[in-house]
């Protein structure tokens, strides 16, 4: 998607209202990272659901450890996956000519944010996996990932989105995360951008953790 978007809409930077960037790839990197961290969250959910399907989790639940630690372990793995995807896209971006205005500190901030974002999305995947206990159900939310992404600033500036995407993107926490990831690439590392990203991640994580806790309770009751 990064290659196709960048190659197909590269002249978008000439549109009035498009932020100043060295190239469209600079702008799209954050969107690709967002997409990747969301898919990492879904993949983590699928893996957890498969553990349920195979009965592995039932055996783990019988172990004298906190149930939350089982989920936390899975989320940590998802977060590491997020870190790796951040690294991957930074490398791809640099190879193909992207400029990271924030330099090394900016790149490190991006990696930390992708790691945290993947963990946050992992909580949503985990909640669904625990609730459904079926990999196919978790897999079924893949299209939803794209819907949510299209309704954010992941691929295009807010001011150039058409309605109703424009209005929805304004309140979509993913826009906060994307803008926060994009800041260090196109404008340098600022506390404001990092704060925006952290706020978005906190919203997603809070919702995900509550849903995960509720799903775990339900699973504990019903077995």
């Amino acid at each position: 998607m990064l290659a196709i978007n960048t190659g197909g809409a590269s002249r978008a930077t000439q549109l009035p209202g498009f932020p100043h960037v060295h190239g469209f790839l600079d702008f799209e990197l954050a969107g690709a990272m967002m997409q990747s961290t969301m898919l990492a969250g879904v993949s983590g959910g699928i893996a957890l659901a498969l553990d349920f399907e195979m009965g592995f989790i039932d055996r783990l639940f019988a172990a004298p450890i906190s149930r939350y630690s089982i989920v936390a372990g899975r989320l940590a793995a998802t977060a590491v996956l997020g870190l790796l995807t951040g690294l991957w896209f930074l490398a791809i971006g640099l190879i193909f000519g992207a400029h990271i205005e924030g330099g090394v500190p900016g790149a490190l901030a991006i990696l930390a944010l992708t790691c945290a974002a993947a963990g946050a999305f992992g909580t949503l995947g985990a909640a669904l996996a625990i609730r459904a206990a079926r990999a196919s159900v978790v897999q079924g939310i893949f299209p939803l990932v794209f819907v949510i992404l299209f309704l954010s600033t992941a691929f295009f500036p807010l001011g150039l989105l058409l309605e109703p995407a424009h209005s929805i993107a304004r309140f979509n926490p993913l826009s906060l995360i994307t803008d926060g990831l994009r800041g260090p690439v196109i404008g340098g590392l600022t506390a404001g951008d990092v704060g925006k990203a952290l706020a978005g991640i906190a919203i997603v994580a809070a919702v995900g953790l509550v849903l995960t806790a509720l799903s775990l309770r339900g699973r504990a009751r019903t077995g």
């Binding site: 190659g7 197909g8 002249r11 469209f24 299209p143 691929f155 295009f156 995407a165």
Partner: protein
């Protein structure tokens, strides 16, 4: 065995493929929803691209709709391969092979079913796009887009069937989808050739599917002309022969 019996067998297999829409809806739904989501999503995101100098239409949705047609064809073709892989996994296809009919007839029924199944997402896409302001392509433009899309679905089905026969597992589904996904999107999908980035311009220029897209798109952004139609026709015939031959070859080797 007479030609009439073989035709009846092809028809039966085609009907079976169509029945799967209602009886295995989970397999058909992604092929309908995914292109529609991409149509709406891409229009919402990149809808302002039509303001670029040199863009041939003032409606991005009209420009991208034929891409969604080809995506739908790709998804439908992939679903055909996944269904066949499931039949192989369950042993049903093995039993079908002992039926005294030529193997090409087995392939024809499956592939023709894909061509008809794709009419479902085409209908949904057309209704959604026209309701949201896409340009009416005229009867000729619409028929051309639909016919070429159906042919492309058959080609995608041949590709997916080949992979299903090769790997014999539904796990090959991503490969089936990725092939056509790449072929469709590495074209002038988002913008006309001159507005693409250099590398994509070069790839799209030699990508045969770009001819198909140009022909399917012409009615939505202007008038239908023979000069935009015949290269796609040649491409589709060539691809059908090539992908069909590979699928038949794979089918002949299956289980021997």
């Amino acid at each position: 065995m007479g030609a009439r019996t073989e035709a009846a067998m092809v028809w039966s297999l085609m009907r079976r493929g169509l029945n799967e829409i209602l009886r295995v809806p989970g397999a058909a739904l992604p092929g309908m929803l995914a292109p529609t989501i991409f149509l709406l999503g891409l229009t919402a995101v990149f809808g302002n691209l039509h303001h670029l100098p040199g863009y041939p239409t003032d409606s991005f949705m009209s420009f991208i709709l034929p891409v969604s047609f080809l995506q739908a064809a790709g998804f439908t073709g992939a679903a055909t391969g996944v269904n066949l892989a499931r039949d192989i996994e369950l042993g049903w296809f093995g039993r079908l092979l002992v039926v005294p009919i030529p193997r090409w007839a087995l392939l024809a029924g499956t592939v023709l079913a894909a061509s008809l199944r794709v009419l479902l997402p085409f209908t949904l896409l057309t209704i959604v796009a026209l309701a949201l302001g896409a340009r009416w392509p005229g009867v000729d433009g619409l028929l051309l887009a639909v016919a070429y899309g159906m042919a492309f679905a058959a080609i995608a089905a041949c590709w997916s069937v080949t992979l299903a026969l090769m790997f014999r597992t539904q796990s090959a589904a991503p490969l089936m989808q990725a092939g056509t996904f790449i072929l469709v999107l590495f074209t002038a999908a988002y913008a006309p050739l001159p507005l693409l980035a250099g590398w994509l311009h070069d790839v799209a220029s030699v990508n045969p599917v770009n001819h198909v897209l140009t022909a399917a798109r012409q009615g939505f952004i202007g008038g239908v002309s023979w000069s935009n139609t015949w290269p796609a026709l040649v491409t589709l015939v060539g691809m059908t022969i090539a992908f069909g031959a590979v699928a038949v070859r794979q089918l002949l080797r299956f289980g021997r």
